[in-house]
Amino acid sequence: MPSAERVDEILAGIYGEVSSPTPTLPQLLVDACTQTLRVTGAGLILLSDSGMAVIATSDGVAQGIEDLQFTMGEGPAFDSSSTGRPVLQPDLKRTGPERWPELTSGAAALGVQGFFAFPLQFGAIRLGVLDLHRDAPGSLDRGELAEALAFAEAAANMLVDMQVELPAGALHAGLAQPLENRHPLHQATGVIAVQASVTLAQALVLLRAKSFALEQPVLEVARHVLDHTCRFDD
């Protein structure tokens, strides 16, 4: 377990840069990750049965690897979230293909060689994942692992802190905004479910498959579904 002092230190460092929880907090956290840990990039995502929302990424590659995980519907982040344990992949090229065949080649193309996913959770509640990646293979040593765990706990605390002043059902702007960007995706899932007469979960699979086949980002295919240039009913 990470030390409470280290978690508090991390949060103090981030909160110290702004006067109160603002939409930029998650961004500050992922940036702090890449500055403090020996990683190339970081991404903070919310993950639930209904979907994934990318809250903040440190750079384009981090965004790319999240999009890739979502498109493929597989990856260390999903595994980490469902098991509630970190997923550590020091050499994705070597150990990745067996577990995530679709993801690994795409990751290599992005230059991601090491990948480490840490779940963000409170008891039984799984909120999301902190993803860290490296452009070279190599494990996290004990100290780095402890630090990464401290960042994950800080991230989880930060999410709750952002939410704590709000009434139940309301969402902090910093979380609602990234979620809004994915609205077309969820709407398209609903459209496909009706067109193909399948469940929402199956509709998402169809959407992903189409995205993979067309080599287009999922969000782009979703927009085509919504403007009726891409249909799923025959």
Partner: protein, 240 residues
């Protein structure tokens, strides 16, 4: 076994309670039993405040001590009440002072065979969450070492309880966050489904859902779930 060794064992037991499934009652039972075992007293009982600030009897080393705690709450006077109110230790009060300060409590205590009562606060900085009664049938003062050990037992219990309460509070908010996120997603999915079924655009679908929610006095999320489940198939055109 030396007292130090037994004390170490007790503290390990207390901190272990944080790692395993946390049970406040079990923890406080451990504390009162340890107090009787390790200090020169005959019985101990513990009052804890709930989230609203009302004191409740939670644990006692024996039945008379438990009943005495209840009497103390009823009477609203006694060493535990004082200790809880001001967060101070209440120890080695002379019989005369005790009778004066606790005119209802002391006679009751004597009827149970206790001639002296002390109390230690369960407190962490400004947070006072309860107090422990230490009862003596012999009327001997508490030695300074006993006060230190007794307070240490109270302090470690306090930390465990506050930690558990904080963790629980965070979990509740995390759950709310998760619920809010899922609701958003559900509503968007339902918009897509309704738009496709009714051949309208997603904005019109959203207006129809909101209107239906108001008209049937349901939350939007429930309407969304109804659309998804197929219970609500078509909300028709939206009246502009």
């Amino acid at each position: 076994m030396s007292r130090e060794r037994r004390l170490t064992e007790v503290f390990v037991e207390i901190t272990n309670s944080l790692v395993d499934d946390f049970d406040v009652v079990e923890l406080l039972q451990t504390v009162v039993d340890a107090a009787v075992e390790l200090l020169d007293i005959d019985a101990a009982a513990l009052l804890l405040s709930d989230q609203r600030g009302d004191l409740r009897g939670i644990a006692a080393s024996d039945e008379p001590a438990r009943l005495l705690d209840l009497i103390e709450l009823e009477a609203d006077d006694g060493p535990c009440i004082d200790s809880f109110r001001n967060g101070e230790q209440v120890t080695n009060v002379s019989p005369e002072d005790a009778d004066r300060r606790w005119p209802r409590y002391m006679p009751a205590a004597r009827s149970f065979g206790y001639v002296q009562a002390h109390a230690l606060p369960l407190r962490l900085r400004g947070n006072i969450i309860g107090a422990m009664n230490l009862l003596s049938a012999q009327g001997r003062d508490l030695a300074p070492d006993d006060v230190i050990v007794g307070q240490a037992l109270c302090d470690s219990a306090t930390i465990c309880i506050l930690q558990d309460r904080a963790a629980h509070a965070q979990e509740v908010i995390a759950e709310q966050l998760q619920g809010a996120l899922n609701s958003r997603i559900l509503v968007e999915q339902a918009k897509g489904m309704l738009a496709e079924r009714s051949s309208i655009d997603t904005e019109a679908a959203f207006r129809a859902m909101r209107q239906h929610a108001r008209g049937t006095n349901q939350p939007l999320r429930a309407v969304a779930q109804g659309v998804i489940d197929g219970a609500i198939l078509d909300l028709g055109r939206v009246r502009d």
